[in-house]
Symmetry: D2
Subunit: 343 residues, 4 copies
């Protein structure tokens, strides 16, 4: 049994992580921590866990967390980087679901996240935890930077195009739409029901933190010139789900895009490529770790990729478990085999 700790188990990502870990056969939850809720039973904060009332939030101390084999951080940005050095020193492996270790370029990170980085050297060591890209490195890693939700949907959607050098990488467009759980569980007028429901809007048109993350990863993949991605996120009046609509211009007349995608993802357990002309739906992957794609040639040189994930699962907690499974040499799909609910 892997003894795990979860730091920050009170947000939507943390709660989802606990939910998944509770039923994972090789995991024993050693501790869940929350500074604000220390002493409170999990089932009192989230009645959904009424059958598991033994879990109680503790103070997040290095001492407590050092008793774990693996610690997940489901905390706001800037938290994991403060505790991670101590945990690694104590022989604990770490998966950070926030952004502290995702961007290798420290100056870029500090510009977007607005504070000095606490351990730049560990950023260099951290592995970007997208199994479809870095599976082997993940297996050996002490420290995983779990990808952002938008980046997961966008990168998986564009990977086969860039790997095969099929498109003009200077004018990529990602028109992305996310359910509101992506904005977290904080008290906020902008995410009230009466503000979000029966409404739709873009946000972050002037710049969003996930854009440099996507750019940096795509640049490691593209053999061609520097990637330029236009990234426009929108807020969907749903709780879970991301839909990325991706636009790229083909370099020359490519045939058989769907076959290229299927070949690329042939052995991936969590990526499904639909036929051209089919429309992935966010609900098909709700509460699952899947990414579903279709790739479409809509005119001579215009390619449109449709990509969906559940932002809390493949975009966060589920992918973290997938990484854990790899790190501990378990079957990659263990504990994350759920079939999406309908409706």
């Amino acid at each position: 049994m892997i003894k795990v700790g979860i730091v920050g188990g009170t947000g939507y990502t943390g709660i989802e992580l606990i939910r998944l870990l509770c039923t994972h056969p090789n995991v024993e939850i050693q501790t869940i921590t929350s500074r604000s809720e220390a002493g409170r039973p999990l089932s009192s904060l989230v009645p959904n866990f009424f059958a598991m009332s033994q879990l109680v939030f503790q103070e997040p101390t290095v001492e407590v967390l050092s008793q774990c084999d693996l610690v997940f951080f489901a905390t706001p940005n800037g938290t994991a980087m403060k505790m991670t050095p101590h945990l690694l020193d104590a022989g604990v492996r770490v998966i950070d679901l926030a952004a502290d270790f995702r961007i290798k370029d420290i100056a870029t990170w500090e510009q977007w996240y607005g504070e000095p980085h606490a351990c730049p050297d560990l950023v260099a060591e951290a592995v970007y935890g997208l199994p479809e890209l870095n599976r082997n490195a993940i297996k050996q890693a002490r420290l995983i930077a779990n990808p952002g939700c938008y980046p997961t949907s966008v990168i998986l959607g564009l990977l086969p195009l860039l790997k095969n050098d099929l498109v003009n990488v200077t004018h990529l467009i990602a028109d992305t739409k996310s359910g509101v759980s992506g904005a977290g569980r904080g008290a906020n007028i902008g995410t009230l029901h009466a503000e979000v429901s029966e409404n739709f809007k873009a946000y972050g048109i002037a710049g969003h933190r996930h854009q440099p993350e996507i750019n940096a990863i795509l640049n490691t993949v593209s053999s061609a010139e520097s990637v330029q991605l236009t990234f426009v996120p929108h807020l969907l009046p749903i709780n879970r789900g991301i839909h990325a609509t991706l636009y790229a211009t083909a370099k020359e007349s490519v045939e058989n895009l769907t076959e290229i995608y299927r070949e690329h993802y042939r052995s991936e357990p969590f990526v499904t490529v639909l036929d051209e002309g089919e429309h992935p739906e966010t609900r098909s992957v709700r509460a699952t770790n899947h990414c579903v794609l279709s790739v479409n040639r809509v005119s001579k040189d215009q390619i449109v990729v449709l990509s969906v994930i559940d932002n809390l699962v493949k975009g966060a907690a589920g992918q973290a478990l997938q990484n854990m499974n790899l790190m501990y040499d378990l079957p990659e799909t263990l504990g994350i085999e759920a079939i999406g609910l309908l409706p």
Copy 2:
């Protein structure tokens, strides 16, 4: 033209009030005030008003408000009672959309609202602004206590039964459901989209402030023994609308309940009684000042009344305008004739 001021124009009720007043032909908005947003154009807070950018929030001072003929308070409970004495002294009439003047019994008020009342004498003078009950008094009033949203739906639903002494008043039940705008525009985890949507629950089972308000008003109507109402509110995952399902036991075999209701509300412009067996829908009255009812005998002695209103209109801002129209001897429906949107 009536010169009006609105204190507290940043919540859902205040915004709805401004929206309605903007198109009322006999009204000139003299000032909108907000302590927190003073200096900010209304259209910057609520883009819906982009065509009316001249309105700018001011500090709510007695000086500014004394230049009005009529001041509406769309503020949290406990605010209106502090300014109202000064405004009345200055010859300004007042309509309070909060609860400061709704309950005549000061001890009861102080118990439920948790602070000493600032002007108990004015409570005695204030008229409970339900036109279907107090039309004549409203016309003469200097100070109106605009009814709560739940009380409006429940009282209109029960009035003909109690006036005609048809039911046992010691076991009335109001199972009520309200859209989330009733909880206001404050930042609050409990009213986030991801908490409210795809969810339904009761709240306030241990006691809700609208229950003593309803009880007090029903007791003024009932010629029989003291009214005992069980009141269970529920939170609906919609933005606007209240549905009250009301249960009462008939004293004896009453016939023609629908006719009794129609007779009672014969000259009311804003109350419609459907045929028995029909189901009022909240959307039918969305953004309108109407209350739609049906009254049903479901067994020998069991009566079920279904009653719907828009909590922000007939349950708040629209009823306030109806009261204003009465106070200024205008046609009662002026400015509040809207037909409900579908969908």
Copy 3:
């Protein structure tokens, strides 16, 4: 392995049943059938099953179904009663998720379901599949009448009151609210998104089929006079979930209602009794087989019970699995241990 067949796997109940059966460790799905979709892969109808593409709808014939150990009917009312006699004769056990075997009184059934019953004798044999009421009979049964969704929530909410003879049974009230999946997956204007969302209404005020079902079961429990239940269903703009708000008048001053409920449900794996004053939420049981209750004394003699279930799980497919587990002497919770998603 239990070889199961599912007749009518294209509605929400049937799809939910397949989803649950797919991951049940002791089940092998022998066949899924649909007259209208015969020949079509399940994953083409419901992309959520893209990882299980081997299942293909077949014609529902006695021949095909006779190869199963157990057949579930997730069909419209009136279908199961036509095939069940042949299947039982062939030694196949049957769980009907529709209403064909729920009401013992044939005349009542025929009045509410509008056709002659095809096998009245089997109605007598059928066991009403509410494990909390009939666990032992279920274990031996050849034929299970799986309870309706409303009846499950209402009966579980009232059972301890009636068993202990604590309330006046002639004036019970069930104000119930159901998510829209309860209305099925048929093309219907009344359940369009633009009709249901941002709306709330009662329906069936003149009479609903679940009322005689509830009455009949409660009468088997009540030692007192004949049960009279007022039943008012409402349509909630959510997909899954039932909330029953139950009103009963205490016979005399009863103390410790919560303890009575907890004692009653002490060994039930799927019923949780919250503290008095707490509010069960439909989302806490979403996609789970749980019923969560609280029982509240709101005045001297007025009791209010709040009861929630997921209409597709404890109200349909999950309860069917619970019954199956009992029939095959498996752990009662096997395959239905899910923790509710948040959000």
Copy 4:
């Protein structure tokens, strides 16, 4: 008073049209017609109209409709073209809210709408009813082709760019999202609440009828080479509203895009241009005839325009009234001055 008739008043567009016409001061509704609902009072079909019960659906005959000055068709595609010649002959003016007269090229129309056109000559005469483009022609027109909802949002968003020849027109992208009322009020599994809510998907990736309409109009505007627009529509889980996210590549370094847009729309009563970096929201224009835009330079040559309308108002019924106002020399905003509801 203009005597108007509405053919097809039972869908969402027709109902919205009646709602707006009911309160227009210069209009008298002469007849509303529906083949399927002839004889039925409007208020029985749509209870929202309970205060206007005099309107009753009639059979749509040329005889009845010839008594009108103006007839609106809110019918399925292919209906208006059959009656329009007779009405024009009778001296009646016509506004078709469907697509029968929108595309000048008959072959293209017949390809997308799948039937021979009944009156190709009238297509040539018809004026495309986008006032911001064709105001003068509309004033004189006998026959108006009211624009599609998507085309309205896309064309208004791109017009200033194309008129001023600022962008490369061969790679325009319109990523559009529409509320579900755009799919009409027919009974359809795909638009059920349980299918649409908590879900998001693209549709029509292989081709959508609004694309040739947009292309044709944009080509009349663009002085440059032939317009090539990639058009990807998505289904939003809201009732009303369209959000178009438009991508265009600047020809050279253009400055002051927002000023160019503001200058272009300076005298338009229904188009508002926000500051760069602001995000139009669909709810800001809900139930209004406004289009709200922002235009953003997100990199050296990448322009992103955000454009919102209410699909049933500016995208259908409201624009039809705007056209009527122009045709009858009334103030252009008469009867369509509503301020958007919040929430």
